[in-house]
Symmetry: C2
Subunit: 403 residues, 2 copies
C-alpha cells in the first residue's frame, strides 16, 4: 500500500477516504511572522512522531476540523525522543494482540524513503523456541560476525520481517503532510494548558543566544492533544491537576564505530540493540525501569575515570563486553561528560518499560498521547487511533481488509 508519509494531502484508509483535497495550512516558523489568534477545533501540542502523525491522520479523518500543530522547537524537535529513537521495527517487540496494528504501522513506515527492510538477529545464551545455532545465521549474515562471540551467544533468532527507519524523518514527513492537508503549524512555541484551550509562548533567541518568550497568545480549542513525550504527564498534572501513573527514563545512545554496511543486520543481545547507521552502529541500551522524579542525568565514573554514559548504561555495556567484544574497544564512544553522548527522556506509559504507546483522556477536552519504548513498532497505529477517536470514526484500517 501507499505509505502514510508519502501520501501528502491524499486520503488513504479509514472513513476519510474520498474527501476533497484541502488548501494547505499556514506555517509560523519564527516570531517575525505575525500569528493571527483564532479558535481551533483541535490543538496538538508536540510535533514529534506521535503528534505529527496524529495531526496527519486527523486531517484525513476529519478535514472539517480546524487543526493547529504546535511545536516548541523545529520539525522535528532536535531535543526530543523522536530524533534519537532507534527506528527499529521488529515483530519481537510486538505485544500479543497488537499484531495487526504493528503491521499497519510497518506498512505505513515503508512508505517513508528512509525506511528499508533490515533483518534483525536476536542473540541468546540459552536455547529457546525459534532459536537456531548462532553460526547458522552468521553464515547468512557474515557482516555480523565481527560483532559478537558465538561462544557467549550460541543461540540466535531471526526476524526477517524487521525494518529500520529514521523516526525524525517520519515526524517531518507527517508534519509536512499534515500542513499540506490543511493543518496550521506553529514552531518554536511553548504551549501550556488553560481552561478551554492553550496558552502559547512564542520563543525567540536573543543576541546572546538565550531563549526568551517574545509574545504570548491565549487560544481557545475544543480539544487539546498533549503529545510532548516524557513531559506530557508532568504537564497534565501541573496544568490540569490530573496525576498520572506514567513515568520516564533517560536513555543515551552511544555510537559504536565498528563498520557496518547495507547488508549488516540489526543485532540484539541482553536487551541491547545495535542498529546499523551511517557506516557504524547506534547502541540502544536496555531500559530497566523508570527514573525517579527529580533525577538529573549525570555522567558515570569507571574506577575513577569520568565517562559520558550514565552509570547504569555503563554497567549494562560492561556486562555485555564478553558477548559483544567491540563494546570493550575504543570503537565505543563513551565520552567524558553527559553532553558527549546523545540522550533523551523517554515516556514510559504506566511507568513500565515494556508498555505499548497509548492515549488517554485527561479531561473532557484534553487527551494525552504517549509513544514510549515501543513507538517504533506501534506508534503510528496509536496516533491513528487517537485521531479516529477525536474524529468520531469507529473503524480502524488494520481491522479491515486494507491493512
Amino acid at each position: 500500500m501507499m505509505g502514510a508519509m508519502t501520501a501528502g494531502a491524499r486520503t488513504t484508509g479509514g472513513s476519510g477516504a474520498g474527501q476533497p483535497a484541502q488548501e494547505p495550512g499556514r506555517v509560523w516558523a519564527h516570531v517575525g511572522q505575525p500569528f493571527a489568534e483564532r479558535d481551533y477545533d483541535v490543538v496538538i501540542v508536540g510535533a514529534g512522531r506521535m503528534g505529527a502523525a496524529c495531526a496527519l491522520f486527523l486531517r484525513r479523518l476529519a478535514p472539517a476540523l480546524r487543526l493547529l500543530l504546535v511545536e516548541r522547537g523545529g520539525l522535528p524537535n532536535e531535543d526530543g525522543a523522536t530524533i534519537l529513537a532507534p527506528g527499529v521495527w521488529t515483530a519481537l517487540d510486538v505485544p500479543p494482540g497488537r499484531e495487526a496494528e504493528a503491521h499497519w504501522t510497518r506498512a505505513n513506515l515503508l512508505g517513508d524513503p528512509t525506511a528499508r527492510p533490515c533483518p534483525l538477529l536476536s542473540l541468546h545464551a540459552e536455547e529457546g523456541p525459534g532459536r537456531v545455532p548462532t553460526p547458522h545465521l552468521l553464515a547468512r549474515f557474515p557482516q555480523a560476525a565481527p560483532l559478537l562471540d558465538p561462544r557467549a551467544l550460541p543461540w540466535a533468532e531471526l526476524d526477517g520481517e524487521a525494518a529500520t527507519y529514521r523516526p525524525g524523518a517520519v515526524a517531518l514527513a507527517c508534519g509536512q503532510g499534515a500542513v499540506r492537508a490543511g493543518a496550521d503549524l506553529l514552531l518554536n512555541t511553548q504551549a501550556g494548558l488553560t481552561p478551554g484551550g492553550v496558552c502559547l509562548e512564542r520563543l525567540t533567541l536573543t543576541n546572546t543566544h538565550q531563549i526568551v518568550t517574545h509574545e504570548t497568545h491565549e487560544l481557545r480549542a475544543g480539544r487539546v492533544i498533549m503529545a510532548t513525550g516524557a513531559e506530557g504527564p508532568h504537564a497534565a498534572e501541573h496544568d490540569l491537576g490530573v496525576p498520572t501513573a506514567h513515568g520516564r527514563a533517560y536513555r543515551q545512545f552511544p555510537r559504536l564505530n565498528t563498520p557496518s554496511g547495507d547488508e549488516t543486520p540489526v543485532l540484539r543481545a541482553g536487551g541491547l540493540t545495535l542498529r546499523p547507521l551511517h557506516g557504524g552502529f547506534t547502541v540502544v541500551p536496555p531500559l530497566h525501569h523508570r527514573d525517579p522524579h527529580g533525577y538529573v542525568p549525570t555522567g558515570g565514573r569507571l574506577t575513577g575515570v569520568p565517562v559520558g554514559l550514565r552509570r547504569e548504561t555503563l554497567e549494562d555495556l560492561i556486562g555485555l563486553m564478553d558477548a559483544l567484544p567491540p563494546l570493550a574497544t575504543g570503537a565505543l564512544e563513551v565520552g567524558r561528560s553527559l553532553a558527549d553522548v546523545p540522550g533523551a527522556w523517554l515516556a514510559l506509559p504506566g511507568g513500565r518499560v515494556d508498555a505499548p504507546p497509548t492515549h488517554q483522556p485527561l479531561t473532557d477536552s484534553v487527551h494525552l498521547l504517549l509513544g514510549g519504548p515501543h513507538a517504533d513498532t506501534l506508534g503510528l497505529a496509536v496516533a491513528y487511533d487517537l485521531a479516529a477517536t477525536v474524529a468520531g470514526v469507529e473503524t480502524r484500517p488494520w481491522a479491515g481488509q486494507e491493512g
Copy 2:
C-alpha cells in the same frame, strides 16, 4: 538459646565456645581522647547492625585477632539505614533455602529487650495459598480493623511467627557486646581504604557546627570489612578500583498517627508495611528498583502542593488509599519537604530489591558486607557467616543442633 545481644563477653555457639573472657576493648568517642595508632588484624568500618554484629561474632570466634570497629557517627549512626530500618522479622521475607539462617537470626534477635513477637497480617486482593478471608483474621485482631477496607483486601495470610524489634538497639547491643568482648571502638571517624589498611579521619564539630577533620591516622590492618551500607560499594570502587553490581535506593518512612497498641499486628498490603511503633505506625513503603547513580532525593508534588515524600512513594501510597483508608487522612505525615520525613539510603545487593544480605571479597584483604532490604530477617546470620569466614571457622550454628 541465649540471645547474641545479651551475652556480652560470653561466647555462644560456633567454635569459639570455651574461650576465656576477654579484657574489654577501648573506646574513643571524641578527639579529646588520644588515639594510639597501632596495627590491627581486622578493622570493621561501620557500626550499623551488620558491622557491629560482625564485630561481636568475630570477637567470639577469633578472640586472638585484634579488632577495631570504626564508625563515622555514634553507636548506632543516626544517619544510617539501621536506625530507620523497619525491624520486622517475618517468615514471608525469607528466601527459599535460607530458613535455618533466618530462624537463627530470629532467635538471636529475641534476646534483645526491644524485640517481641508480633503477628503479621499480609493482605491481598486475590485468593491464594495460605490465605483466609480477611474478616476471619480481623475477628482475632480487632485492632487492625480501622486500618483497612476488607472489601479491597478480602484475603489475608497470617504470620504468627513474626517479630518486631529495633535494629538500632541491636546495633548498640552488638557494638557494646563487641567492646566488652575485647574489640576497640573508634567513633566519629571516617575511614577510607588504603593499600594494606585504612586511613582514618577523626571528625569533630567546630563552634559553628561544621564537621571537620581533626586528625588523620594511617593504620595497618590484615583484613578490612566494609560495612558502611549503601556507601560500601561506592567506596569499594573509589578506593580499590573494584566495580560492583550493587545498587542503592532511598527509602522514606513516613509516620502514620493512627492509634496502635501492644495487640496491634504488623500489616502488609501492596508491598507496603505498617509497623506499630510508639502508639502509631511507621509506614514502610515498597521498594521497586534501585535509584540511578547520581540521584539526589527530592520531595514530591501532588497537584502542585509540595510534600516531603518522594514522588514514587507518594504514588504508591495514593494507590493504596482505598485499601488502607487512614493513608488518605491527615494521620499520614507527608511533610512539606524532604527533611520532614525520615529517610535513608539502603544498599541493594546485586542491585536487586529482593536480594538477601551478602558479603563478598573485594581483594585478598578487603570484604564487603551488605545488609539491604532483608537485613531484618537474615542480617545477623550473614554477619556471622562473614565473621566465621574471617576467623577460618567452618561450622555455622544454624547448620547444627544448637541453631
